[in-house]
């Protein structure tokens, strides 16, 4: 199989609660997946497993055709980057220092090279945080921080981007911009997987929606065809309706 990411039969419990029963899906370069589901459906857990933070009780993850366990931590970091929901650090790093950490897996040099600096600057300009590169990260607002963390992920230049609720803390314009950037990454040949609660943002920007429920992939629908069968909506709320406006992609509204 030529999939960049192949996930098969993932199973994981927290104590006695089975979060993932058997999760299976594949993804190719160029796709932008939205991982959606109600709270506690195991969305972030799946990202954690792909990133290597958590081991599943059973099942397998293959990245670029090779079992995840066969990659070294560093090789994995060159291929997979993870955007956390937030970071808690008390230490006064500047925004630019934080983004520069994305280059860690790519070099053994003591200080960053010119090439590293190109990646850092490009990533920061794309997420619009270059202007405050000298500011202390701890002094930023939630939205500003989120853009810095996203820049750090882009600077890592991995082929798989895992994003745990990338649009939290962002205002509407920034949410659209963030998802636009991710879509551009996908169009440039990366694979983006975002956990989100915003179904319309997912429908307008992602290529595929993976709906998690009861520990399995309940539905796996292409964003452009999401309105053809609205079975998947009932996993969220009985009040949701979906339609297809004359132009653009399917939209959801509630009654």
């Amino acid at each position: 199989m030529s999939g960049l990411l192949e996930i098969a039969n993932l199973e994981l419990s927290y104590g006695r609660r089975m979060v993932l029963r058997s999760v299976t899906f594949n993804a190719k370069p160029g796709e932008f997946l939205a991982l959606v589901g109600v709270n506690g459906a195991g969305k972030s857990t799946i990202l954690d497993i792909i990133a290597g933070f958590r081991k599943p009780a059973s099942g397998s993850v293959a990245i670029a055709g090779r079992d995840q366990k066969a990659w070294s931590l560093r090789e994995l970091a060159q291929r997979v980057s993870h955007l956390p929901q937030t970071v808690h650090s008390d230490l006064p790093y500047t925004t630019e220092q934080l983004v520069a950490m994305g280059r860690y897996p790519h070099t053994d040099r003591w200080f960053e090279s010119d090439e590293d600096h190109r990646f850092i600057r490009q990533a920061m300009e794309r997420t619009r945080c270059w202007d405050y590169r000298h500011r202390n990260f701890a002094s930023l607002s939630g939205g500003e921080r989120q853009r810095v963390l996203l820049a750090a992920c882009l600077a890592q230049n991995a082929s798989i981007l895992l994003l745990d609720e990338p649009s939290t803390f962002l205002d509407i314009d920034q949410q659209l911009h963030c998802f636009n950037v991710l879509r551009e990454e996908a169009e440039a040949g990366k694979l983006c997987i975002a956990v989100t609660h915003d179904l319309n943002l997912a429908l307008t920007h992602c290529t595929r929606l993976i709906i998690l429920a009861d520990g399995v992939v309940a539905h796996d629908v292409a964003a452009s065809k999401a309105h053809e069968n609205d079975d998947w909506l009932r996993f969220f709320s009985s009040r949701l309706r979906i339609g297809h406006p004359p132009s653009g992609t399917p939209r959801i509204w509630y009654q």
Binding site: V80, V87, T94, W110, Q156
Partner: protein
């Protein structure tokens, strides 16, 4: 001018001041003291100036430089591992363990064991006992900063209680020397002890500084570091062991001197750089100079009495800590 050149130049600049201060302290501070030393008499090896300078002042200054550097470096290390700018080996209970070990030795009246000062063995044993207790107790669970801090509080109180009990059993003169030791002071020591401490500190400091890039990532978060390729468990193990030996080794010769591991990293982070590639060496040099400076200050303020360096540092450090806590940026949305 290319960006990396700029950065290495900035790094060079960042290190010039700390190195200068360290060297200046090493050269100038031995001459500071209750009685004046004549330069020419010292050079001609005439008593008592030569003896005071070489046997007392120089060893004392060198000990303060090495121990202060080690304690500051350990402070910066624990702050990175616990992701808290105000954490120190004291917060973890490692200093308390080292103190208890050394006090046990003093109370028992042991002087030398296998040719090394017995307090040394006691302090290192105490530091490691606490380390094994803390790490071992959590071996099958995740080591979180928060649980470590709470464990540290518990260990601190238990060690403090044991020290008081030991003090009660020890005779009058021993309990006095325990009390004096607990304040922490820099006393002249033998060149052989100094050499052993210096070698240990040098090796560990090199080991720690070689991982500077990894400490940067770990200081942001364990997952943050892991998802960028840092082997977090191995790094934490290195950090805890190296930090404990630094603390145990320094404390054995000086007593539990606080605050140097807090003030110096805190100041360097905000004034020079929070980047561990620059922070760690700077902290080592400034820490040594600060402790040596405090010791020299304690020698001259109330002659012929000497104020222990630990007391001088506490007088400066206490108010500084309060100030630093008030300066803290409140976390967003909490």
């Amino acid at each position: 001018m290319t960006a990396p050149a700029q950065i290495s130049r900035a790094a060079g600049k960042g290190l010039i001041l700390p190195i200068f201060v360290f060297v200046a302290a090493a050269i100038l501070l031995p001459w500071v003291g209750a009685g004046p030393i004549s330069l020419s008499r010292a050079f001609h090896r005439e008593a008592p100036d030569y003896g005071i300078l070489v046997q007392l002042r120089i060893t004392r200054t060198l000990l303060a430089l090495v121990a202060g550097g080690a304690l500051s470096l350990a402070g910066a290390l624990f702050q990175a591992m616990l992701r808290d700018a105000l954490a120190t080996p004291y917060t973890l209970g490692i200093s308390a363990g080292a103190s208890l070990g050394a006090v046990t030795v003093i109370a028992a009246g042991w002087q030398m064991v296998w040719g090394v000062p017995a307090t040394w063995i006691g302090a290192l044993a105490g530091a490691f006992a606490v380390l094994i207790l803390v790490i071992g107790g959590f071996s099958n669970r995740r080591l979180s900063a928060f649980t470590l801090l709470l464990t540290g509080i518990a260990i601190n109180s238990v060690c403090a209680a044991c020290i008081i009990i030991l003090g009660g059993f020890a005779g009058m003169s021993r309990s006095f020397s325990i009390a004096r030791w607990l304040i922490g002071s820099v006393d002249s020591t033998s060149y052989s002890s100094l050499a052993v401490l210096s070698v240990v500190v040098l090796v560990l400091a090199t080991l720690i500084m070689a991982q500077a890039r990894s400490w940067n990532l770990l200081a942001v978060g364990e997952q943050w570091a892991a998802s960028r390729g840092v082997k977090v468990p191995a790094l934490l193990r290195t950090g805890y062991i190296a930090g404990s030996v630094l603390v145990g080794g320094a404390i054995a010769l000086t007593g539990p001197i606080g605050f140097v591991g807090l003030i110096v990293p805190h100041l360097v982070r905000s004034r020079i750089s929070p980047d561990h590639r620059i922070l760690l060496p700077s902290v080592f040099f400034f820490g040594g100079a600060l402790l040596a400076g405090c010791d020299a200050l304690g020698r001259i303020v109330l002659p012929p009495a000497e104020i222990p360096a630990g007391a001088v540092l506490a007088l400066i450090g206490g108010p500084y800590l309060v100030w630093a806590i008030r300066q803290r940026t409140p976390p967003e949305g909490m």
